[in-house]
């Protein structure tokens, strides 16, 4: 009996461990450029993300100060005036991949993701975002892109720069998650 419980205990721990894929170096880009003006885009290369393969649950965490722009002033303005990253240091996503199954990952497949994105203290529901997933040995690759509106996150673009910064922001992501 004792051994059986040992076994069960380990088995259950094992199950937990084996069904998760994690990355700490995921990439998230966003771009709010307006054609013929200086490009406004940034990249964050230290995004943490996790997939729980049994349920298809997916979560990601972005430290807002980790976004790098092409110049320091833009980066400062982003943190100080738009994202207010002192007050709201994290952006998070929590959701689910529809009808996810690890067995479907033999070839590149597209899954729809539903969930909620929190940024700048506001949460927005995202529905049916198509993500490309593929499996390579111990890794799962996830990539995709979607559009967000600054108004959904209570980010105001002042009149003087309205021509130069788009209110529609394209977000793209690229994660390579490793089996834990």
């Amino acid at each position: 009996m004792k051994h059986l419980i040992y076994l069960l205990a380990f088995f259950s721990l094992n199950l937990v461990a084996q069904s998760k894929y994690i990355t700490k170096t995921g990439v998230v880009n966003f771009e709010a450029s307006v054609a013929s003006f200086e490009e406004v885009k940034a990249m964050n290369q230290s995004v943490t993300a996790i997939i729980e393969t049994k349920s298809g649950a997916f979560a990601a965490l972005v430290l807002v100060k980790g976004f790098r722009f092409k110049n320091a002033l833009m980066e400062e303005h982003f943190n100080e005036n738009y994202a207010e990253s002192d007050q709201f240091p994290k952006a998070t996503f929590k959701g689910n991949l529809e009808d996810f199954s690890i067995d479907k990952l033999s070839a590149t497949s597209i899954f729809k993701m539903n969930g909620s994105l929190t940024f700048h203290g506001k949460t927005k529901k995202l529905e049916s975002i198509p993500l490309k997933l593929s499996r390579e040995g111990d890794f799962i690759n996830v990539s995709g892109s979607f559009l967000l509106n600054t108004s959904d996150f209570d980010i105001k673009i002042p009149k003087v720069v309205k021509d130069k910064v788009s209110e529609t922001v394209e977000v793209s992501l690229n994660f390579k998650l490793k089996k834990t």
Partner: protein, 282 residues
């Protein structure tokens, strides 16, 4: 033992089903985080702030100080007597800036070096410390009035340590111990080598507006000196690549030796100057 194991088993199953994936990957930092943007402008008002121009970027700053507003409409509140300073600052690296300027006040040229020694860290070192040195050349001194004038008399030097702390998102404070030396001083009793302590701060009113003030406490001013310690109060407005700084001050010169050593205005008489610094990033 057995109960413990059963407990473990259950707790692991329970956490398995309830655990929020997000909390598993929650992290606060990816390494040392520096406090950023303690000040918006390179200057608080008259004093240098601890902000530097980033690497390979060039900032152009036009500053004006109008004449004293005391004379009212007669000089259009000082507009007739404005002085201008043009200043270019280049970021050699993120921590080293070189600047050149020309001011119409006493036709002063200056060359400056600004370098960051330490940065304020989140949950770490509490201050940003920046050094500032400049050499000034006063080209307005006239040989006809000062027959013994040599080139060296035109020179002045400034050495400053700027110590700032971003106390919270809105409030930043700075202390600026300053040594400056003028090879020629107007008041005979005045030591050529002078010491001052600068105090400055900014308070953010909104994401784009802030209230700024600085004060220079001269520590060895000659007793018969007509000059006053500079007190300046103003606002910063930031719009994209520009920072507008608008202020009132009782010192018309804009370089450290000038505003610390030769400010003539007096707040108690209403003898103050309106001015602005306008910067543009390239």
């Amino acid at each position: 033992m057995r109960n413990l194991l059963i407990l473990l088993l259950f707790s692991s199953l329970v956490t398995n089903s309830q655990n929020d994936l997000l909390t598993e990957i929650d992290t606060d930092s990816t390494g040392t985080e520096y406090a950023t943007a303690a000040f918006k402008g390179l200057k608080i008002v008259n004093f240098e702030s601890t902000k530097l121009v980033a690497k390979k970027e060039l900032q152009f700053i036009v500053s004006h100080r109008f004449g004293s507003i005391k004379n009212g409409i007669n000089t259009f509140f000082g507009l007739d007597e404005a002085v201008t300073r043009l200043n270019f600052v280049l970021g050699v690296t993120d921590g080293l800036n070189v600047g050149v300027s020309r001011s119409s006040y006493l036709k002063v040229y200056d060359v400056s070096l600004k370098y960051r020694l330490l940065r304020q860290e989140e949950n770490g070192f509490p201050f940003t410390i920046v050094g500032y040195n400049s050499i000034l050349i006063n080209t307005a001194l006239d040989k006809e009035n000062l027959p013994l004038l040599e080139f060296k008399h035109r020179l002045g030097y400034t050495a400053q340590i700027l110590i700032s702390r971003k106390v919270n998102t809105d409030l930043s404070l700075e202390l600026a111990p300053t040594f400056f030396h003028d090879n020629y001083v107007v008041v005979d009793a005045q030591d050529n080598s002078q010491f001052a302590l600068g105090f400055g701060g900014r308070y953010k009113l909104s994401t784009r507006w802030s209230l700024n003030a600085d004060y220079g406490w001269h520590l060895n001013r000659a007793s018969n000196s007509p000059f006053k310690n500079p007190l300046s109060i103003g606002v910063d407005l930031e719009t994209g690549g520009h920072v507008f700084q608008m202020h009132f001050t009782n010192a018309q010169p804009m370089d450290a030796n000038g505003f610390l050593g030769q400010g003539t205005g007096d707040w108690s008489d209403g003898d103050i100057y309106f001015g602005f610094n306008l910067s543009r990033q390239f």
